[in-house]
Amino acid sequence: MPTLKALIVEDNPIILGNLVTTLEELTEVKVVATVDNEADAVRELTQRGQELDLVIIDVFLTAGSGLGVLKTAQGLPLTARRVVLTNYATDDIRRRCASLGSDRVFDKSKELDNFLEYCESLGEH
C-alpha cells in the first residue's frame, strides 16, 4: 500500500505528537514534516510541495494563520489534498477554507473520527 506523505501545520506540541502517532498507527499516512507557523509552512510547500500527498493545517497558529497557508497553497501547483483541522469549524470558516482551496474541514474535538476515516480512505484509492 502506498504511503501518503503528509505535512502537518500545527503549533500545539501535545496535539502534534499525538496526531503523528495516531496517523501512523491507524492510517497509511507518513508524516514527513511538521511546522508550527505560516512562514515555515510556506517554505515547505514551495520547496517540497510536489512530494506531498496531504497537507494538514490548523487554522489558528501562533505566528501567521492556517488560512494564509491555504491561500499560498492555492497559488502553487500542488497535487496534495489540503485538510483543515480546527477548533472553530463554523459555517463561515468552512466556507472560507473551501474558497481557499481546502478539500475538507474537520472539527478537532467532534470530528476526529471522521478525519481519521478520511485519511484512511485516502490510502485506499
Binding site: I14, N18, T21, T90, L116
Partner: protein, 432 residues
Amino acid sequence: MPVVLALGISIMVVNESTYRHSHSTLSAGIALTDARVQATETLQLLTAASLYAHAYILSGSTDEAVHYREVVKQMHAVKQKAFDLIAQVDSAQTISVDTVEALVSEEIRDTDEWVDLVARGQPTTARTDAISTRSRERRDQLREEFALILEKAAEIQQGARFSLYNALSMSRLAVHLLALAAVLSMFVFQRQLRQSDQLLIEERLNLSDRVKERTAELTEMATHLVHAREDERARLAREMHDEMGGLHTSMKLEFARLRRVPNMPANAPELLASIEARLNESIALKRRIIENLRPSALDQLGLMPALEILCSDMESVLGQRVQADLAPVSSSKAADLTLYRIAQEALTNIGKYAGGASVQVRLAQTGSEIQLTVRDNGKGFNPAQIGHGRHGLVGMRMRLESHGGQLSIQSAPGQGTTIVAKLPAQAPTAQT
C-alpha cells in the same frame, strides 16, 4: 457694617447738637429784644409814677394816688419781666441787676414818701422834696444802668452768635465730610463686593477644574480596570485553549487509537464510550468557558465571525431562534471587543429575563457609523427602573462612550427590548 453705623450716629449727633445750639441762641436773641422793650417800659412806668406823684402833690386828688399805686405795681411787674429776660440771655449769670434794683427802690421810696406826706396833709414838704433834681438825676442814672446791663447782655448775645456761626461752620464741614465718607465707604464696599465675587468665581472655576480632573482620573481608572479584566480573561482563555485544549485533543486521538485495539474485554468498549462521552462534555464545557472569557474567534477571525458563532451558540442556550444579520464593519480591536461584549451581555440578559420566542442581532455600517442592534420580543421592562441585572449594560455604555459611541435601550413592559449600540467607524487594528 460698623462703619456705616458709626457714620449714621455721628450725623445724628452733629445734627442734634447744632439744632439745640441754634435754638437756644435764637431764643436768647428774642429774649434780648424783649428785655430791651421791658426795660424801656420800666423806665416809662417809673416816669409815669413820678408824674402821678407830682400830680397828687399839686392836686391832692385821691384819684392820682390810686393811679400812682397802680402804676408802681405795674412797674414792678414789668421790671421783673425785664430781669427774667436778661437772666435768659445771661445763662452764666454774670450780669448783676442789683444796682438797677437799688436805684428803682430809692426812687419808689422817695415817691412813696411824697404821697405819704400829702396823704398826711403835708403837701408843702412833699413839694419841696419833689422839686429837687434828685429824682431826675436818679432816672438818668437808672437809664444808664439799664443801658449798661442791656449792653452786657447784647455782648453775651453777640458771643453766642459767633459761637453759633462757628458751630454752624463746623457742622457744615462735618456734614460735608460725613457725606464724603459715606460715598467713599460705598465705593470701598463696592470694591469689596466685587473682590468677593471675583473670589467666588475663581473658587467655582477651581472646583470645576478639580471636578474635571477627578472625573478624568476616575474614567481613566475605570478604563484601566476594564482593560486589566479583559487582559486577565484573555490570558485564562488562552491557557485553557492552548494547554487544556491540547490535552483534550490528544485524549481524543488516543481514544481513536484505543477503539481500534483488537481483543478488548467485553465491557471495555462500553466503558471507553462512557469515558469518551465525559471527555466530550469536558471539551464542550471548556469551549463554553473560553468563549465566555475571551472569544478567540474575535481575535483570530474578527467581529462578524465571532458574533456569528455567539449567535449560534446562544440559540441552544436560550432555546430561542437567534437570527444573525451581520455585515463587515471597520473597527479597531478594542471596539470589536466592546461590541462583542455588548452583544454577549444583551443575549445573556435575554436568557435571564426576557423569555421571548426570537432574537434578532444586526451588525451594520452606514457611512462612518457602526450600529449593533439586539432585539427580542420577550417581556420587556421599564428602562427608568434599571434593576440589578442591568448594571452590565450600564457599564457597557461607559465603555462604548470611551470609544465615542452611545448606547440606547428601548423597552416597555410587554413590548420586548431593543438595544442599539452606535459608534464611529475606525481604522481596523493591524492583524498580527
